[in-house]
């Protein structure tokens, strides 16, 4: 009576462990495969005809890359951009998540719902929506000039300011949500206890709430840093060529000069730099931060 399908079903229910095989195989073939191929490509010679000379081994791409003052400058700019965006997003995201955790009922639903709605926008839309707001004749400048804050319209579009605003906006949900998740389970009586013992509002937040929120802030901060350092859409739409990140440069090698090995080498260098900086930050928090702060990470 047991058909082949029945046997497969029974085995899947009996030994559910086998169910992890497809997804792990998928990750190995698609994810690991693609990244290993990228690494291999970065060690391949460029070719005049075609994108690369298959089967060759060389380190010249990395040598040329490290000697290229312009590209190393772009890498430093990208890392600086990532640091600034991460810092601003962490501060704003913490305030937002704390407000959501302290609020109740409708207020909490509105605050969380707004972030979820933002999560539904593509990065293109998120960035593009700031164009009419930041333009020289745009909404922000109209308000500033109207209120007399500034005499002449500020240059917001095509500058660092525009790119930072667009990136902070894009990254905010990725900081708010994990921070909220850690604060939602927070023991609020400890805050009340700190206030009873004479701590001011800011003191109690700093001494009691921030340590509890650290795992979420760290997870969100790492994501924000990893993504904004190699931002692609925001520098193109809200910036000018002097806001180009390593991602824009790598894409140029792929699309314009068809130099895949250089693009691969630049990508590898960018990932190594991001992992190094983020790793140092995580190590510092593990060493000096509250206990268990790095447990939520991989």
């Amino acid at each position: 009576m047991r058909t082949a399908l029945g046997r497969v079903q029974a085995r899947a229910v009996d030994r559910p462990v086998l169910l992890v095989v497809p997804v792990v195989a998928f990750e190995l073939v698609v994810f690991a495969g693609a990244l290993v191929y990228l690494l291999r490509l970065s060690l391949t010679r460029s070719a005049v005809s075609g994108a690369y000379a298959a089967g060759t081994w060389t380190l010249t791409n990395y040598g040329a890359l490290l000697a290229d003052g312009y590209l190393q400058g772009r890498l430093l700019y990208s890392l600086g951009l990532g640091v600034v965006v991460t810092a601003v997003t962490l501060v704003l995201g913490f305030v937002y998540a704390y407000a959501a955790a302290r609020a109740d009922g409708v207020r909490r639903t509105v605050l969380l719902g707004a972030v979820l709605v933002e999560l539904l926008l593509s990065i293109v839309i998120k960035v593009y929506a700031w164009v009419p707001l930041l333009a020289p004749e745009g909404t922000v400048n109209a308000v500033f000039v109207g209120l007399g804050v500034v005499d002449a319209p500020l240059r917001l579009l095509g500058s660092d300011v525009g790119v930072v605003v667009g990136l902070v906006y894009s990254m905010l949900p990725y900081v708010v949500l994990p921070t909220y998740a850690t604060l939602a389970t927070m023991d609020t009586t400890t805050v009340a206890a700190a206030r009873d013992l004479g701590a001011s509002r800011l003191q109690s937040v700093r001494a009691v709430v921030v340590p509890q929120a650290t795992p979420g802030l760290l997870a969100g901060g790492v994501t924000a840093f990893a993504w904004s350092t190699v931002a692609f859409a925001a520098p193109t739409i809200l910036g000018s060529p002097s806001q180009a990140t390593v991602a824009n440069e790598a894409a140029r090698f792929v699309d314009v000069t068809y130099d895949w090995p250089r693009a691969a080498a630049l990508s590898v260098e960018a990932v190594v730099a991001v992992v190094l900086v983020a790793g140092c930050a995580v190590a510092l928090v593990r060493r000096y931060g509250p206990r268990g702060a790095t447990e939520g990470l991989l």
């Binding site: 029974a10 998928f26 972030v115 539904l120 926008l121 293109v124 707001l133 745009g138 909404t139």
Partner: protein, 267 residues
């Protein structure tokens, strides 16, 4: 007095942040209704002319819309199958360290910079013969959506009452019957929600689609990008608004199944 002032200041800051989060959404919707061909906020006069133009005059956009729907559907199915099976199977692993290792492998694409992933996938797919059609985009989108499915389904499984399954087995049900009758009803809503999350994320994914998709498989965000590089056009606002609406409709069952609060905690 000082305390009340502090509360007021805090509320003001939070209200400003809420405005910061919602203002761009308002801009996109408002500019799509602008009568003039330029993108200004707030618009002077309202009209539906750009919606008409999008629906009836632009075959390119319609084609991209179909591509987006095809890719989002494929991604939702594949990611839900892989992620749900993984989340179910990982509980059977005996060792906690092994379980963490599997989770790490599945979640690792998330912190990987998407641009690097997109570049790598585009050259890798070209090399191994996957090409640049719908299948390639679905594979790429599955990679970045499986972690979400996996996390949501694991959270759902953590709440399952396994004693009902034991009871079914004691009463003579086969293991498959016990799963179907006792476990499946408890996880159905969570799995469905995970699938919708995957579809919505795919619908809005931009970088992988941009680098991996050939001209025939271009999705809506890719075409928006191409349009934006030439000139700012209200059609982009129209498409964005329609995408937001589509995502909102797809989110209704998710929110109904999980509630805003739980969804926020589990994503």
């Amino acid at each position: 007095m000082n305390r009340r002032l502090g509360t007021l200041a805090f509320r003001g800051v939070v209200a400003a942040l809420l405005g910061f989060v919602l203002l761009p959404v308002a801009v996109v919707v408002a500019t799509s209704l602008n009568a003039a061909p330029d993108v200004v906020f707030p618009p002077d006069r309202l009209s539906l002319r750009w919606y008409r133009a999008f629906l009836f005059e632009e075959p390119e956009w319609r084609h991209a819309f179909v591509n987006s729907v095809v890719v989002a559907t494929g991604t939702a199915v594949l990611a839900t199958l892989l992620g749900t099976a993984g989340a179910y199977g990982v509980r059977g692993l005996p060792d906690g360290r092994l379980r963490r290792a599997v989770t790490t492998v599945i979640v690792l694409p998330l912190p990987t910079p998407v641009v690097v992933l997109a570049l790598a996938l585009s050259v890798y797919f070209a090399r191994i013969g996957v090409g640049s059609g719908h299948v390639a985009v679905v594979l790429g989108h599955t990679l970045v959506t499986v972690p979400f499915v996996y996390v949501v389904v694991r959270a759902t499984l953590a709440r399952v009452d396994w004693q009902i399954r034991e009871a079914a087995l004691d009463l003579g049900a086969t293991r498959w019957q016990a799963f179907r009758e006792a476990v499946a009803p408890q996880i159905r809503a969570g799995v469905l929600a995970a699938g919708f999350v995957a579809a919505v994320l795919s619908l809005h994914e931009f970088l992988i689609a941009l680098f991996v998709a050939g001209v025939d498989a271009r999705t809506l965000p890719v075409l928006e990008w191409t349009a934006l590089r030439n000139f700012v056009d209200p059609t982009v606002s129209v498409v964005s608004t329609l995408l937001i609406l589509l995502a909102a409709v797809l989110s209704v069952p998710v929110v109904a199944a999980l509630g805003v609060e739980r969804l926020a905690r589990e994503l």
